[in-house]
């Protein structure tokens, strides 16, 4: 983690709602993802950092500034925080054109500098030529980029994004996920991004802060947090139990061959940038099929020799930790486990269909 630029310690409760408790949150200069299920308080935390909500108690400090301090009676309103904020629905001003929206925050700049700055930002985001359009005349992806342009054109000290891709349809979302990562990296502005999508968190963030029931329960490097959940709460909201670094060996006919340790996996390469080499390989435990080594041929492309390391009961299901040259987790029903006669040390074949192996370009 880089040096801390933002520290937050606060509580916030809406009447009738759950209490949000942010305890010793320290955020570095890279891209930090606030990850949690819906209702975990992610958006409230983000809005408190933006100054759009006032915490009940506590303090928020950014750089050398105090943004909020209950005891000192300090509250910096949003207009004094010099942030860029992109809400989930973008909130583009419906009565202003693209240029009007993007230029709104440049009021302090001399008029002569404003136009080139707007043009440069629109160019950079591939929005050139849309200057005179109204927000309702744009596609979802274009609206998302206009909202980003409006937030970054002022060169804010901190960028806050609330579910930046959630309002988009799935194909657009997958396409923009890679694009957004690229843009955020080029910007180099400290960014806090809220998402409930684990793959998005992996793709976009250096650091992940997990929020559960209104509390920040775990904080660390993205892969670390997801592959080693600090407690059951984190494990429960983690959809992809297996996250391993891998290297793309080749891409052919829309399929990628990835080396994970000594194992080779086949995955769909559709949403993978052509130049991606290092990736996270993500597999849901319920997508892993186990079979006897001598079983007949089957359709899944990935056949991995596996050894059972541990079997843990989890409600009606059994969590099976396997070693296939890398740790792999499978989730089976109990009758299935009994039929296979699962026990520690048993050798099996783990089967995974290629579309269920998700590849996220690796970023550092």
């Amino acid at each position: 983690m880089t040096d801390t630029i933002l520290t937050a310690n606060f509580r916030k409760q809406f009447s009738g709602g759950p209490e949000i408790v942010v305890d010793e949150l320290r955020i570095g200069a890279g891209i930090t993802v606030l990850f949690g299920a819906s209702g975990s308080g992610k958006t409230t935390v983000l809005r408190c950092l933006a100054g759009l909500e006032i915490p009940d108690v506590g303090e928020i400090k950014f750089g050398g500034e105090v943004w909020f301090q209950k005891n000192g009676n300090v509250f910096a309103p949003p207009q004094r925080r010099h942030i860029g904020f992109v809400p989930q629905d973008y909130a583009l001003f419906p009565h202003l054109t693209v240029a009007g929206n993007v230029g709104y925050g440049l009021n302090d700049l001399p008029a002569a500098e404003r136009a080139p700055r707007i043009a440069e930002t629109l160019q950079w985001l591939g929005l050139a030529g849309l200057e005179e359009r109204l927000p309702r005349e744009l596609s979802g992806g274009q609206q998302q980029r206009v909202a980003l342009a409006r937030a970054v054109v002022r060169r804010p000290k901190l960028l806050l994004l609330d579910e930046p891709l959630a309002a988009l349809d799935t194909p657009t979302r997958l396409r923009l996920r890679g694009e957004l990562r690229q843009l955020l990296r080029q910007l180099g502005i400290p960014t806090i991004l809220v998402t409930h999508d684990q793959l998005e968190a992996l793709a976009l963030g250096n650091d992940v802060v997990v929020l559960h029931a209104g509390r920040n329960v775990q904080h660390g490097a993205a892969q670390e947090v997801f592959s080693r959940p600090g407690n059951l709460a984190v494990a429960e909201i983690t959809a992809f139990e297996t996250i391993q670094p891998g290297v793309v060996l080749e891409t052919r006919d829309g399929l990628a061959t990835v080396a994970v340790g000594d194992a080779r996996l086949i995955a769909l390469a559709e949403d993978l940038p052509i130049d991606a080499r290092e990736v996270y390989v993500c597999i849901r435990a319920e997508d892993v099929i186990l079979a006897r080594p001598d079983s007949a041929p089957s359709s899944p492309r990935n056949h991995l020799a596996a050894t059972v390391r541990a079997v843990v009961r989890e409600g009606p299901l059994m969590r099976v930790n396997l070693d296939c040259g890398f740790p792999l987790t499978a989730l089976l029903t109990r009758p299935a486990c009994e039929e296979l006669g699962l026990h520690e040390g048993l050798r099996l074949v783990a089967l995974v269909k290629a579309p269920q192996v998700h590849l996220i370009p690796f970023t550092r």
Partner: protein, 221 residues
């Protein structure tokens, strides 16, 4: 129409416009405070502003007469400080029209402000805009239709005002007489043709104002 009739219509229009100038800044500020802020005494102010809608207009006129009369609290101050008299002058006409049409304007503007999603105002603040800039570049433009509709309604109401006007401004031909007062006078004098002519003019102006106002409010939805 005769020259005197044209003059009467012109005077009435000028008075209605002047009352709008009085209402707009005050009414917009009040409507915004009612729509966006919570404060002590809000319910009381809401009631007071709406009161002229239901009170007999002559009662409103009587109250204004008390306040702005030479011995009233505001009237005596104006007289002593600026040597300016209100009652039975064109100024009294403007004040009476403003008091009577303010409720219509404030109600329409308040609803229009309430219909503007606060998320746009909040976003403007994150982009560095202070309260004034947010109001004039976001809230007001987005509430434009409703505010304009309210302005037209207030204008139409002002043109038709009779009771309060006659109490504070009286009926001084060429100085305080407005269209409705002139119509009443004409009927009193048995000049039916004259009365109908003026009534026709009133109806045309009122129809146009309400027609445009309704269209503005409908297209908003």
């Amino acid at each position: 129409m005769s020259g005197a009739e044209w003059q009467l219509v012109g005077f009435s229009l000028r008075m209605a416009f002047a009352s709008l100038l009085l209402i707009l800044p005050f009414g917009l500020a009040l409507a915004w405070c009612l729509a966006r802020k919570d404060w002590r005494g809000k319910a009381l102010v809401e009631t007071l502003v709406s009161l002229p809608l239901v009170l007999p207009p002559v009662v409103t006129g009587l109250v204004l007469l008390q306040i702005f009369g030479r011995r009233g609290p505001v009237g005596s101050w104006l007289h002593n400080t600026f040597n300016c008299d209100v009652v039975f002058t064109w100024r009294a006409v403007v004040i009476a029209l403003a008091a009577m049409s303010l409720p219509l304007f404030v109600r329409a503007a308040r609803t229009a402000f309430e219909e503007v999603d606060v998320k746009f105002e909040q976003l403007a603040r994150t982009l560095g805009a202070g309260e004034w800039r947010v109001f004039f570049t976001i809230t007001l433009p987005l509430a434009k239709r409703g505010v304009l509709a309210g302005t037209l309604l207030a204008f139409a109401r002002a043109l038709g005002e009779f009771g309060a006007t006659i109490m504070v401004a009286g009926n001084i031909p060429g100085r305080t007489t407005t269209l409705p007062v002139a119509i009443y006078q004409a009927v009193e004098n048995g000049e039916d043709a004259h009365a109908w002519m003026l009534a026709g003019v009133s109806a045309v102006i009122a129809f146009a104002a309400v027609f445009v106002s309704e269209n503005l409010q409908r297209r908003r939805k």
